[in-house]
């Protein structure tokens, strides 16, 4: 039981972290909480289902196309809806909240209420360390999640764009003074944030098929991870995701399955109360 819960927590936690990275990026650079983040995740799941199932494209190619399309859509949303709200974080929150409902009803209209499941990459289950049986698709999702997160951090550390992001997240005005075009940076980071949600979506959709309203819990979890890790801290939110995943699954195993999501919101409120900078975040000045 314990080993299974830990593994489950790790798998779910990695995906939480991946989704939360996108939120964290957008919060860090733009100070915008994108309420429709979960819907981008769902949309990518639908796209990969659509391309792989209906058009018969190879699942991997379908995933890449799905993430690309969501990235482009993210750019459009930033340009039309988010840009006029710069500086008013409440305004952007209200707009993206409404946007999330619009997306949900569009999904319902286009894809229907049933879960849509892109093809699994791999079938069957494996006996892990002789302890328990575990779905192969879940193990594959874990591996894919780790790879994407690693790629993201490599990009952050090694590329010029990554350095720009880190500079802007640390001190916007300073970055601007140093000649960084922050309007374009905002556009790209928002798109990249959406693409990260999309990556999480295509990775997890074969395990948990997407439904029109499944995005809300995804976004809520991502927000909690971000708060837990300290608003805008990238490594913090990865840790936050892992902690959440493990705590939830241990809670479900040993306390109550029905209440497993309560632990998450309790953590959120406690952290906001006592350590508003996040469990792993640096203190704000």
């Amino acid at each position: 039981m314990l080993a299974l819960s830990l593994t489950n927590g790790l798998v779910i936690g990695i995906v939480y972290a991946l989704t939360a990275l996108g939120v964290s990026l957008v919060v860090g650079i733009m100070n915008v909480v994108n309420f429709a983040h979960g819907e981008f995740y769902i949309l990518a799941g639908y796209f990969s289902y659509l391309f792989a199932h209906t058009l018969g494209i190879h699942p991997l190619a379908a995933m890449v196309i799905a993430v690309g399309l969501v990235f482009l859509l993210g750019l459009v949303v930033e340009y039309t809806l988010i840009r006029p709200t710069y500086g008013d974080d409440m305004y952007s929150l209200i707009l993206t909240f409404i946007l999330s409902i619009v997306f949900q009803s569009l999904f319902l209209l286009v894809f229907g209420p049933y879960p849509n499941k892109p093809p699994s990459w791999i079938k069957g289950a494996t006996e892990v360390f002789g302890l328990f049986h575990y779905g192969n698709q879940r193990l594959a999702a874990l591996a894919a999640g780790v790879v994407v997160i690693a790629l993201f951090f490599a990009m952050l550390k090694l590329t010029w764009f990554g350095r720009m992001i880190r500079a802007a997240a640390q001190d916007r005005e300073m970055a601007e003074l140093n000649g960084i075009n922050t309007t374009r940076l905002n556009l790209l980071s928002f798109g990249l944030g959406c693409a990260l949600a999309a990556a999480a979506g295509v990775i997890l959709a074969p395990v948990f098929p997407v439904t029109p309203t499944a995005g809300t819990p995804v976004a809520l979890t991502a927000f909690v991870c971000v708060v837990l890790g300290g608003m805008g801290s990238m490594s913090g939110c990865v840790l936050g995701g892992l902690v959440l995943g493990v705590v939830e699954n241990l809670g479900a195993a040993y306390v109550s399955t029905g209440y497993k999501h309560v632990f998450m919101f309790l953590i959120l409120i406690l952290v906001l109360l006592f350590r508003p900078a996040g469990l792993f975040g640096r203190r704000e000045v």
């Binding site: 209200i94 409404i98 409902i101 708060v227 919101f265 309790l266 409120i269």
Partner: protein, 310 residues
């Protein structure tokens, strides 16, 4: 002064005209009016919080839920009179509102929104899991407020509720402390410097707004005779938010216009089934993006433009 008296007459005439309205209507249209009045209570009280003090709470529907469930559970488990139950529900919502208001004091903006969202989700999970008490998604059947079920009677009860809500909101934003309300929204630090007790205003707004939502929820539950987690749901929160935004966030008339407009519109387009949420969302999105002050704001701008610059 003359203007104030004028307004009062207009107001009395409008209320009287509105009170006579259901007599010419069938049961179905009376129902639509009653639901609209429920939304007037919800939007007007949420507007007090979000529109006037800038605290965008996502927990307003949750407070309606607290009112409804407190009253409903007391009525079914203890046999309390539903009218006393409405009082108890309002009180319960006020207490939780006060606590959450204090909890959120140190937080601004996004943090407050996320905390209220977390609060709302916790409430949802509790209602779903304690189904032995709340009956979860199965819905809790509760007694009505009056022995003989009558739409007309409920209409007047809801009209009274809406008038009380509007009166309380009006008083708060126009009384001395009202100036403080706007000051808090615009700039907390400046308001504090001016000697406005920011803490008091914010907690007061949270408590009053929650109490009013609790009252609305309790009345609504005893009207539907069935309380479900739909009352404290995020969908409900979305309706309240978009009604207020479309009508005009931060204006007195905006929420009323939004509540009636959208509820009546939604009854009409219900024939299209699931499309009505989409239509709602699109209208709300367009209004929020291009006319952030809502229909009231558009109207004001229109009138200003017609009037020659003085």
């Amino acid at each position: 002064m003359v203007k104030a008296i004028d307004n009062r007459w207009w107001l009395a005439a409008a209320v009287a005209g509105f009170a006579a309205l259901p007599w010419g209507l069938g049961i179905y249209h009376q129902h639509v009016l009653i639901v609209s009045l429920f939304y007037v209570m919800m939007t007007a009280s949420w507007n007090l919080l979000a529109g006037y003090t800038g605290q965008v709470s996502f927990g307003h529907a949750a407070f309606a839920g607290i009112g409804a469930y407190a009253s409903g559970i007391l009525a079914t488990k203890v046999g309390l009179n539903p009218w006393l139950g409405v009082g108890a529900g309002t009180l319960a919502a006020a207490v939780f509102g006060f606590l959450l208001g204090v909890l959120c004091l140190k937080m601004g903006g996004i943090y407050l929104s996320l905390t209220t969202l977390g609060f709302s989700e916790i409430l949802h999970i509790i209602i779903n899991n304690e189904y032995e008490i709340t009956r979860g998604t199965m819905g809790l059947q509760v007694p009505g407020l009056i022995a003989e079920y009558s739409k007309l009677a409920y209409f007047y009860i809801f009209l009274a509720g809406a008038i009380i809500t509007l009166a309380v909101v009006h008083r708060l934003i126009h009384a001395n402390i009202g100036l403080n309300f706007r000051a808090v929204q615009n700039d907390e630090r400046a308001a504090a410097a001016l000697g406005v007790d920011v803490v008091r205003v914010r907690v007061l707004a949270f408590t009053v707004s929650s109490a009013l939502a609790g009252m609305a929820g309790a009345l609504y539950g005893h009207y539907l005779l069935l309380i479900t987690p739909q009352i404290p749901s995020l969908d409900q929160q979305f309706l309240v938010l978009s009604m207020t935004v479309i009508g005009g966030l931060g204006s007195f008339a905006g929420p009323v216009i939004g509540a009636f407009g959208l509820e009546i519109l939604s009854e009409y387009i219900r024939a299209y089934g699931e499309y009505h949420v989409l239509a709602f969302g699109l209208v709300a999105l367009i209004v929020a993006r291009f006319a952030p002050r809502g229909l009231v704001g558009v109207w004001k701008q229109f009138m200003d433009r017609r009037r020659p610059a003085a």
